[in-house]
Amino acid sequence: MNNNGTTFLKMNNVNVFYDSIQALKNISLEVAKSEFVVLIGANGAGKSTLLKSILNIQAPKGSINFKGKELTKLHTDEIVANGISIIPEGHLIFNSMSVLENLQLGTYHGKKKEQSIENIFGYFPILRERKEQTAGTLSGGEQQMLSIGRGLLSDPELILVDEPSLGLAPKIVNDIFDILVKLNNVGYTILLSEQNAKKSLEIADRAYVLETGNIVMEGQADDLLNDEEIKDAYLGGSI
């Protein structure tokens, strides 16, 4: 699975508790460099928690290794500086700040700041037009583009994408998924959490299925797409 012999992202026996409630149970998961991996599962299955545990937001127990570094010992800002960024659920951005300022904040851990912002405008020309506009006034789709653009500016190798389709029109969801595929093609490794199982299995290499904090199934995305159980549970029955 590893193209170059060294581990890229490897989670081993990770547990996460919210007070007394266990949100993740003995999660073991691997993502190889340049892979596109999707986490599917119902609302509340623990997909978001899993992504946030990688960034050490909710004090995970167990081991999370990224390129030889133990992430559970690092602060979130150090993890981002090490090359992981998240595009959070609900296209979170700083609503009171301008589009440009949101992007400038994104470059905090990045290197070629000005040049990278130009690159983002290349991906999303609409953001250049609206760069002086307050981010809170953008449409949902534009906010998602800004959110993705911002996430790219810290020079990540691994991008965690949390439910990008939530609350967006189907046409825009397609655009967003196309962008994710493009990003994967140019070398970004992607770990996507998504309720839209069919669409995400179609574009991913591999998948993990989460149910109430457990990984209940894993495999090649194509195999899962044709799996009877998966079809029943996540793809709206046999097609």
Binding site: K52, L55, I57, H75, T76, D77, I79, V80, A81, S85, I86, P88, L92, I93, F94, N95, S96, M97, E101, Q104, L105, G106, Y108, H109, R150, S154
Partner: protein, 292 residues
């Protein structure tokens, strides 16, 4: 009429000081997420530092430097206390308010027992400066001009920092949503320390301007000022930096005009009654609160 103008001009000088104080207070509130009631106490202790250096050396440059360093040092020194309190599970920002009131009381006790044996201090006429313009009873002193010009320069510099630099963007990001800021890899701890540092720098300037303007300080100065700073921040809208500029100046003027027409401490009563009315009419402040 001349008398009224004279009081308004005095009020604008005092108001400049309130503006700077409430700006530092709001910065702590927005970025460090604390209600720093003891902030004006740090300013007063810094004024004692100014006084001590001037008395010992008569060196103005040294006095300015020491004042600023002392102010920054005191603010940074308080950071671990507030961090400890906010890291306790289940506490909210009110815990920092109570803690800072306690800290403020301790500082008053220390000052009243060990600084100048508890007696108020006075600054020399050289430091306070005389009149530079006189027209009838309108009298503009050098220290008033320093308070206006200094106030404007410091506020402009502060807003430049806030809106045109990376540090300012980090401040505003944390102010808007600390959770999202953390998720995006913004260093919360480092940025918070930076806010203490900037508030300390600001406090140093305030100590210098205030010592020139009122020419005196006492261990009890800080608490009366702290109440007004808190009131200004609430009336403007908690954490509303731009609103604080307006309300800070307005409080200075109202107070000063009131002093001109009614006896002594009634000016405080008038100022607070006006603010009470405003709060009853607009509970979230005149300009809207920036924090919950």
């Amino acid at each position: 009429m001349e008398f009224f103008i004279a009081q308004v001009l005095n009020g604008l000088s005092l108001g400049s000081i309130y503006v700077l104080l409430v700006t530092g207070f709001n910065l702590m509130l927005l970025v460090a997420k604390i209600i720093q009631f003891a902030y004006p106490q740090f300013v007063v202790i810094s004024m004692y530092a100014t006084w001590a250096v001037l008395r010992a050396t008569n060196n103005v440059i040294l006095a300015i430097l020491v004042t600023i360093v002392v102010s920054i040092f005191l603010n940074l020194l308080s950071e671990p206390i507030f961090r400890r309190i906010t890291s306790i599970k289940g506490t909210d920002i009110n815990a920092t308010f109570v803690a800072s009131i306690g800290l403020s009381m301790v500082l008053v006790e220390i000052m009243s027992h060990s600084l100048n044996q508890g007696f108020p201090i006075s600054f020399s006429d050289n430091w306070v400066g005389g009149s530079v313009f006189r027209y009838g009873i309108i009298n503009i002193s050098r220290s008033s001009i320093f308070a206006w010009v200094g106030g404007i320069i410091v506020v402009v510099a502060f807003f430049y920092l806030l809106y045109r630099t990376m540090v300012g963007r980090l401040f505003r990001a944390i102010a808007e949503n600390r959770h999202v800021a953390k998720l995006f890899g913004i260093p919360i701890f480092k940025t918070s320390i930076m806010s203490y540092l900037i508030a300390g720098l600001l406090g140093g300037f305030i100590a210098l301007l205030l010592s020139m303007l009122i020419g005196t300080a006492s261990p009890w100065l800080g608490e009366s000022v702290a109440l007004k700073v808190l009131a200004v921040s609430i009336v403007a809208g908690l954490g509303n930096l731009k609103g604080g500029l307006f309300v800070g100046l307005a409080l200075g003027v109202v107070e000063s005009v009131a002093i001109g027409y009614v006896a002594g401490s009634w000016s405080n009563v008038i100022a607070f009654v006006i603010m009470l009315i405003v709060i009853l009419a607009k509970p979230k402040g005149l300009f809207g609160a920036a924090v919950e």
